[in-house]
């Protein structure tokens, strides 16, 4: 910088050398959200995520034990594709979720994939990290070193509002269970 006092030159040089690079998948993620018509203000809130994760785990385990999995009306069978987040704890936001639900709102298939070609959506070259068919089952997802992470909030069910959360349970070997649920539903928290 011109006319900078001599005693500030070193600090000027040091500060000028600092550069950060946003992750490459952020661009397709933002453009994907824009194409889907998502409104601003739905950014992930890390300060909220921790608190929601704990409460979500309690709800999830309760539902698993007592079988409190309720169906909800859904206009038609449809598929929802959401990308890209770090769902498996690998440190890179290159994972997506694919939800296929029937007309009664039951999740027929819930798939987590790695967006290997950075297309921002599920495509032929992507690798599957987890697939769940049919109803929620937490039996296979119990273990001492299991980690539960909640991702909130997004429109995972494709009905418009970004009021859905995704819970992923994983350990060192991979993802063991995944489920979505809806906040603020008239019947309370609704597990899928």
């Amino acid at each position: 910088m011109k006319n900078l006092p001599h005693d500030l030159e070193d600090l000027d040089r040091f500060l000028s050398s600092i550069r950060f690079h946003p992750r490459a998948s952020l661009e397709p993620e933002i453009f994907g959200r824009w194409r889907r018509g998502e409104a601003p203000g739905n950014a992930r809130r890390s300060w909220l995520r921790g608190a929601l994760g704990v409460s979500g785990l309690v709800v999830l385990l309760t539902a698993g034990i007592f079988g409190v999995v309720r169906p909800r009306l859904w206009p038609s069978t449809h598929q929802v594709d959401r990308c890209c987040q770090d769902l498996d704890g690998g440190g890179v936001a290159d994972d997506g979720i694919l939800v296929l639900a029937d007309a009664s709102d039951n999740v027929e298939r819930l798939t987590l994939y790695e967006d290997r070609d950075l297309s921002g959506t599920f495509s032929a070259g992507d690798s599957l990290r987890f697939t769940r068919h049919g109803v929620l089952d937490t039996v296979g997802a119990q273990g001492a070193d299991m980690t539960t992470t909640e991702f909130c909030c997004a429109d995972y069910d494709g009905d418009g509002p970004t009021d859905d959360a995704l819970i992923v349970m994983h350990d060192r070997t991979g993802i063991s269970m995944a489920a979505i649920y809806e906040h603020g539903h008239e019947k309370g928290v609704l597990l899928r």
Binding site: M1, L8, S16, I18, P22, L26, I30, P40, A43, S46
Partner: protein, 185 residues
């Protein structure tokens, strides 16, 4: 070392052949680096900076039709949205002041060895912690000049103030920052 942000090869011109997405991609390619580094000088977490950047550009894309180049340049317009988004976030959430080393995963580094990379990260973390402790006005000056790599003239345009005022405020901010750093930094 004073790295420049990559510039796009094609500048879309107004006309029937230019789609809204072409223009938005041009804006993203041109200004995302500046905006992201501006946010990173304000925020100690890469995750939070990514969230704010996504929110900023979603607002930019959704408001693209309202952009009036006769009133302000695209850079000034986009930075005004980024600054407002950041201030909204700061109002509703307490921004941590501590910069942990793990939070610098997005830091560019051409160090040849892991040890040198670690030293570089420690130095940057120390300086960014000092930046975080500055008054808001000083932090804004440092973030625009060194985060976004904007010239004094550009900062004057973004903040709608005169260039000599920018220079004076920047020098004062640098002096206050240096006073917060250890002698050997």
């Amino acid at each position: 070392m004073n790295p420049e942000f990559p510039k796009p090869a094609i500048v879309p011109q107004p006309g029937e052949s230019t789609s809204a997405e072409d223009v938005c991609r041009f804006w993203y390619t041109t200004y995302s680096g500046e905006v992201y580094n501006y946010l990173r000088f304000h925020l100690p977490s890469a995750d939070t900076a990514e969230d704010i950047m996504a929110e900023t550009f979603l607002k930019v894309f959704r408001s693209a039709a309202t952009f009036d180049p006769s009133r302000a340049s695209a850079r000034v317009w986009i930075f005004s949205i980024a600054r407002n988004t950041l201030h909204d976030f700061a109002r509703r959430a307490r921004v941590r002041r501590h910069v942990s080393l793990g939070a610098l995963r997005d830091l560019a580094c051409d160090a040849p060895s892991p040890e040198e990379r670690l030293i570089w990260e420690e130095e940057v973390a120390g300086v960014l912690e000092a930046v975080a402790l500055l008054e808001e006005g000083d932090r804004e000056m440092i973030s625009l000049r060194y985060g976004s790599n904007l010239s004094v003239a550009m900062i004057a345009e973004v903040l709608a103030i005169r260039e000599p005022t920018v220079r004076t405020r920047l020098w004062r901010a640098l002096k206050r920052l240096r006073a917060r750093l250890p002698e050997d930094t």
